[in-house]
């Protein structure tokens, strides 16, 4: 417990203000959400800049903020690597997917695949890939929310999980994608403001020279000079390569990020949104690296225990310390603000995840696979809301059952590994490979999904127990093996499957390249 009860009260107060703002947004958005296009695609009325901020808000999870600061605080340079790779992932999104997705799809990732492939199997495969990625990520975020609430606001873990789940549902059920988008934008602004304040306070200590922050760090760690070099966190070269591969390709298979491209009016706005997103996300990680090394300078070895597993509480602790320390007014206010921003971060991410899950369940599985496209829009939206509630309940129950001691990092690495291995190969080949066929997509998603799941279960993080020796697979993150296997699955399936007429592929290409026939705003 790092906070006194006055700080708990302040945290809850600041958080209540943020919640009130998000509820006002939801009320406003609810009046603008009338049909399916409103619910899933915000009437395609989000501008490039707004969508870029929303993507940043959707992408910068609690793991990105608290986790990266914590990892840099504990392990130095290695903690920064995932941030760099995460930023790099947007090159693949921009060059291969953003505009094409907007031009070729309607509401979900599966729309693009169903356009040229045999619709029911392709949609089913894409929906399964979506639900796995979104499900793992959702449970991870819920556990993170529960653990944080408990440490920073003094609310018990199950209550915190349920509160998070309920607010997430309110945004999605009543405000759909419009509310989700604006909650994400508000969160992105709050998070950036919080990060800027912390950076300013860190730099103020060292007379505004960022290099001085890093120059001092080795003096405050047992690792010494090695703190500024790779090798403190990743045990083997393969681990670091595999993690970079998972992050650098994973974003291009994250359904809740790709879904955001359907909310803008055209391909050009989709492209612009990536520009805004990487501008924000790049600055975010640069500032976070200064905060992480600054936490080392300020908290030193003495703070390692209080920062908890993975150093997740290093950022709030640093805020408290820079504000004047525990028990001081400045310390309490800064701690409360940063904690509240961290909760807002989680709420925005989980809302985006539930949107993607409800799209996969209602638009893909129910409307197009079960009802074969003859469901009315009313029906589709009813099922979307039922789906959102079911997904939320399952995620809340799983998070409470797993408990706060559960290894969140395992769930997050699974998310990115499954996204990179199961979703990305099929999606990319759908858009670019003329011979690609339905069998290839189904086998590719299946092989990518199963191989990343199996490899994670057999990895040192899980098998035979957390952080134990003697696991059959040495890789902490499976991407180095499972991404090539995913592509291999696509290729083998394509070779074994029946060749398909390529008229729909050509039409998809023309649509994706020129925007001819794309969904209108």
């Amino acid at each position: 417990m790092i906070a006194a009860s006055t700080a708990h009260g302040l945290t809850l107060g600041v958080f209540a203000v943020i919640l009130a703002i998000t509820l006002a947004i939801t009320w406003w958005a609810a009046r603008r959400t009338r049909d399916a296009s409103g619910f899933w695609a915000a009437n395609r009325g989000i501008s490039g800049a707004q969508n870029g901020l929303a993507i940043a808000g959707d992408y910068m999870s609690a793991a990105a903020f608290l986790g990266t600061v914590g990892l840099i605080y504990l392990f130095g340079f290695d903690g920064f690597i995932t941030g760099v790779a995460a930023c790099a992932s947007f090159v693949a999104v921009l060059l291969l997917l953003a505009e094409r997705m907007r031009n070729a799809g309607k509401y979900t990732m599966a729309d693009v695949m169903a356009f040229r492939l045999n619709a029911r199997p392709a949609r089913t495969a894409a929906a399964i890939g979506t639900l796995f990625v979104v499900g793992f990520y959702l449970v991870a975020q819920m556990i993170a929310a529960g653990a944080l609430f408990e440490a920073l606001a003094g609310i018990t873990f199950p209550v915190a999980v349920v509160v998070t789940g309920l607010f997430m549902l309110v945004y999605v059920l009543f405000g759909g994608m419009i509310a989700t988008t604006w909650v994400q934008i508000v969160k992105a602004v709050l998070l950036m403001a919080g990060v800027v304040v912390l950076t300013v306070l860190v730099l103020h200590r060292v007379s505004w020279n960022p290099l001085e922050v890093m120059a001092q760090a080795p003096e405050h760690t047992d690792a010494g000079e090695a703190f500024l070099a790779p090798g403190q966190f990743f045990g083997t070269p393969q681990d670091s390569v595999s993690t970079i591969v998972a992050f650098a390709l994973g974003t291009a298979g994250l359904p809740h990020i790709l879904m955001r491209f359907f909310t803008v009016p055209d391909g050009r706005a989709a492209r612009r949104s990536v520009g805004w997103a990487v501008a924000v996300i790049g600055c975010f990680y640069l500032l976070v690296s200064i905060i992480g090394f600054g936490a080392r300078d300020v908290l030193g070895t003495a703070g390692e225990k209080a920062a908890g597993t993975g150093g997740n509480l290093a950022a709030p602790l640093l805020a408290q310390n820079l504000g004047g320390g525990a028990g001081t007014f400045g310390g309490d206010v800064l701690l409360a603000t940063i904690s509240a921003v961290a909760f807002a971060t989680i709420l925005a991410v989980v809302a985006g995840l539930v949107m993607a899950a409800s799209g996969a369940l209602a638009h893909d599985v129910y409307s197009n696979v079960i009802r074969r496209g003859d469901a009315s829009e009313r029906d589709e939206l009813r099922v979307a809301r039922i789906g959102a509630v079911s997904v939320a309940i399952v995620a809340m129950v799983l998070a409470i059952l797993a408990g706060k001691g559960f290894n969140i990092q395992f769930l997050v690495s699974l998310t990115f590994a499954v996204a990179a291995s199961a979703n990305f190969p099929s999606l990319w080949l759908t858009l670019t490979w003329r011979r690609f066929n339905t069998t290839g997509a189904v086998v590719g998603v299946g092989v990518g999904l199963v191989s990343s799941l199996v490899l994670i279960v057999l990895s040192p993080t899980v098998w035979p127990g957390p952080d134990s020796e003697g696991s059959p697979v040495a890789l902490v993150n499976p991407a180095l093996i499972s991404v090539p296997l995913g592509f291999l699955g696509c290729w083998v399936g394509t070779m074994l499957g029946r060749a398909e007429a390529d008229d729909r592929y050509l039409e998809l290409r023309v649509r994706a390249d020129t925007g001819l026939g794309a969904e209108q705003a």
Binding site: E212, R271, R272, G282, S289, T514, L516, G517
Partner: protein, 121 residues
């Protein structure tokens, strides 16, 4: 739909252009140039960027000593390389945006216009 066999009907009906028109668009000069220019840009940008990211990855994995080298008191080669990758991402986004505005968007508009005129006739 010109190709009305069983396979085609399994796909979802999407509004928009028919198959004949698609071949017209594909055959058009503007579309061919659009595809060629986009492919050229993507190959160049992706090639350069992933070479940079690959070099960073190799150094992170096997080049601990190089990465630990100090350039000035607080700046290591590793941190500089990490910042360069982020700047590289920004450079790709900027170059893509410029190429799109100058070259790709006008070509796409031309390809669309030809098709819309054909439909209007």
């Amino acid at each position: 739909m010109a190709v009305g066999d069983a396979q085609t009907t399994q796909r979802e009906q999407a509004p928009g252009t028919g198959v004949d028109a698609i071949h017209d668009v594909i055959g058009s000069d503007a579309y061919q140039r659009l595809v060629a220019r986009r492919r050229r840009f993507t190959a160049l940008a992706a090639g350069l960027f992933y070479a940079l990211l690959g070099a960073f990855t190799v150094l992170v994995a096997w080049g601990h000593d190089v990465m630990a080298t100090r350039i000035t008191s607080g700046l290591t080669v590793g941190y500089l390389a990490a910042v360069l990758v982020i700047i590289g991402v920004w450079a790709v986004v900027w170059a893509y945006s410029r190429t799109s505005i100058r070259v790709l968007d006008p070509l796409a508009a031309e390809a669309r216009r030809a098709e819309q005129e054909r439909q209007a006739r």
